[in-house]
Symmetry: C2
Subunit: 197 residues, 2 copies
DNA sequence: GCAGCATCATAGCAATGCTAGACATTGTGT
DNA sequence: ACACAATGTCTAGCATTGCTATGATGCTGC
């Protein structure tokens, strides 16, 4: 490949990322309903068709934003878990990190977990960052338990419920920490469950 | 008011309900993105402007569908709770009823809890059926506990997470009953929580 | 039976996602 | 160095969306 072709590819990749970032920022600033192809094109200082040379449509842009978010979420959960090696506190830290992520970047969180998507979860073509994020929850439970995945699913579901209902104004956003504390206490602390965590 | 005026009001109320039902059925059959004002108008065999003489816009129709759903959900949860008087089983029954409601009528559930809405939750102008549904969860916990509302919030959040993630294909729909069993076991069965439920 | 009014539909607006074609600008071969 | 090809970009437009102003229709009340 010639040098100029490489340069063009670089520029193209840059623009690709620029579009994703612009969509994300615009959504975070004014909500996803404000992210139209025209406004997005104006923001990246190109015309609309350029968007379609990079993505298969608005849906695909959304997917790209979501996948980027999966990577960041996985990294964040991992950091939280490794920073607190004691298992019970680790679970608590990971859950808190999850909720912080959701509240600090609500639009990104919506793209990942609320808006309709074609991204495959728990599937062969699942984006690795997504699987990695989920595995952080799994890692909070004893490795000898055959029901680790179940525990992780329920924990994740509960957190998602809290995040989603809070963000959409369906439960008061204030009580989040109390709810979090209660949740992990219940998940971590009973003999019928992941005992002696 | 004259008799004919009464008749017209009756017809008007009928049409009002007809629109709500049509929107709900159409959404249940093809998803909310297929519910356009034109298709809805065609389905009720009126022209579009008629919709706007009944509702302030598409959003308002959605709200009406959601409120109708709140009533049905509250009734369903109530039946489930009263059918099983023992407290621990009652919680389990109510939670199962909630998940069944969500899976049997996914579009209705979305209108109530996923789609953006202006409906006020935990507020003065909260629709009574919604408050009633939430109270069914509260009633599953001992009346002397000052943290009943917290327990109910977390339980509801967890259930919503399971329902939402399952419906959008983000967790496999199969394990729902196992997740449900685990969840209520954890919520109901620890000394740090609603002990001896 | 006729004036007046409420009711409804036709037609149209701005904005949306998306695409076809013209237009440059850039790179290539002689 | 110059004409030609190819790549990339924009202008203009289509169909569809939510919503509304205007005009036709039919019923009500005198």
């Amino acid at each position: 490949m010639s040098a100029i072709a490489k340069r063009r590819e670089r520029e193209r990749a840059q623009r690709h990322q620029l579009i994703i970032t612009a969509a994300r920022e615009l959504a975070e600033a004014e909500g996803w309903e404000a992210v139209t192809t025209r406004r997005l094109a104006e923001r990246v200082e190109y015309s609309q068709p350029v968007l379609y040379s990079h993505f298969d449509g608005k849906e695909a842009i959304l997917r790209a934003v979501a996948v980027e978010g999966f990577g960041e979420l996985a990294a964040r959960l991992r950091r939280a878990r490794l920073a607190t090696p004691e298992p019970p506190q680790a679970l608590h830290a990971v859950c808190r990190a999850y909720l912080e992520f959701a509240t600090e970047q609500p639009a990104l969180y919506q793209a990942m977990f609320v808006l309709p998507t074609d991204v495959k979860f728990a599937h062969a073509e699942t984006p690795p960052p997504l699987r990695a994020a989920f595995d952080e929850f799994v890692s909070c439970f004893p490795s000898d338990s055959p029901r680790r995945e179940l525990f992780a699913e329920v924990t994740w579901s509960a957190l998602h419920g809290m995040a989603a209902l809070s963000d959409s104004g369906r439960i008061p956003p204030n009580g989040q920490t109390e709810r979090l504390d209660f949740l992990v206490a219940q998940i971590a602390g009973t003999s019928s469950g992941p005992a002696a965590l």
